[in-house]
Symmetry: C2
Subunit: 240 residues, 2 copies
Amino acid sequence: MPYKLYYWDGIPGRGEFVRLALEEAGADYLDIARQPGGTNEMLKLMKMPGEAAAPFAPPFLIDGDLVISHVANILFYLGPRLGLVAEDEGLRTITNGLQLTITDFVAEIHDTHHPVALSLYYEDQKPEALRRSADFLSERLPKFLGYFERVLTQNPRGPEHMVGDRLSYVDLSLFQVIEGLRYAFPKAMDAYETNIPGLVALHDAVRARPRILSYLASERRLAFNESCVFRHYPELDRQS
Amino acid sequence: MPYKLYYWDGIPGRGEFVRLALEEAGADYLDIARQPGGTNEMLKLMKMPGEAAAPFAPPFLIDGDLVISHVANILFYLGPRLGLVAEDEGLRTITNGLQLTITDFVAEIHDTHHPVALSLYYEDQKPEALRRSADFLSERLPKFLGYFERVLTQNPRGPEHMVGDRLSYVDLSLFQVIEGLRYAFPKAMDAYETNIPGLVALHDAVRARPRILSYLASERRLAFNESCVFRHYPELDRQS
């Protein structure tokens, strides 16, 4: 039975971290909300009664009877099934910790354009967004990317992967974070990337993997846009 | 060997979700940063080389050689060891999904007083905090608490627990969230709590557990204060 992925249609968003894992593994999956009637099916599942598993928000994944919510939880579940994480419990735990740091980073990236309220448009919180983005670019982006660069280059098994000597879903997620940041903040990233040569090499290696390359060229890959977590508003980017 | 918990001294903060699980289970643990020299030891570990496990931020837990970062990851690891989660993989996955929704909620609670920048004082982002808190109280708090109330009352095994028919770390974490919200937003919670009778009953049941009761009365339990995730600034609370 194929995995069923539920996520908002039209944006890569948080669903993309799951898609990249499924695509890299060549897994059989359905992207439900991109099919006719799929969004309604998704919204209905979110209201389902009698289930501790009713998700708070997309993305969620259904495998058989099991409903799995939150990106990090989905990837933790899929990791061993798709061969995208070590089998050892300790390394799986470490991988999950890194993915949760990515989760926090993505939430902060989102809040650069929505610092006040999800329920308001960007245009209704622009002064706050300008202030938050300036802090994000000067403090938070270097802190997070510097941390991931350090973890990568300190890997005793070599800087080709974040954990151990094999590709994991964390490598795929960092590829996507760099893609998204380049889209959202091209000037800031252009200026900062000399500080993270290891991550840039990791990004390029992921991009060159045959299944990823073919996925990126397919219509299954959605383009970034201004409804996504990663949005390009030139006024929020570095100004010089 | 006792578990070693690393978290900032002087605040309950995110470390408290781990402490409650350790305390409820009567586990042998050391709260390192509350011991002489402990904070230095914690900061040194965060800079450790050669380890994918180097944590981005506290809290983290050390069990033998394994360094485990992020609250949800620590609780996922401890759950089966402390008897605070079902043994079945599906239910563990569902429990982890709920804990990750709590993680997101706690991040939003934090951002009510820090909507612009972690690196600035509250006083330097007060207009933004007023705006964000108003949205939080009218939109986000009812959305999150309403969701948890729905999951609880829909539990086919009864509304005594969030998942299945036994206490899990998610129940303990929701106790702490309600404690924190009552501290931070007493007027708003006073007005809202009639909508979440199930969660209030769950909170009271957790509070009455012998080990929790004894922990709360001990000096190991830290009081909420204005350096914590949960802060009481009367101007951010409901005004009438």
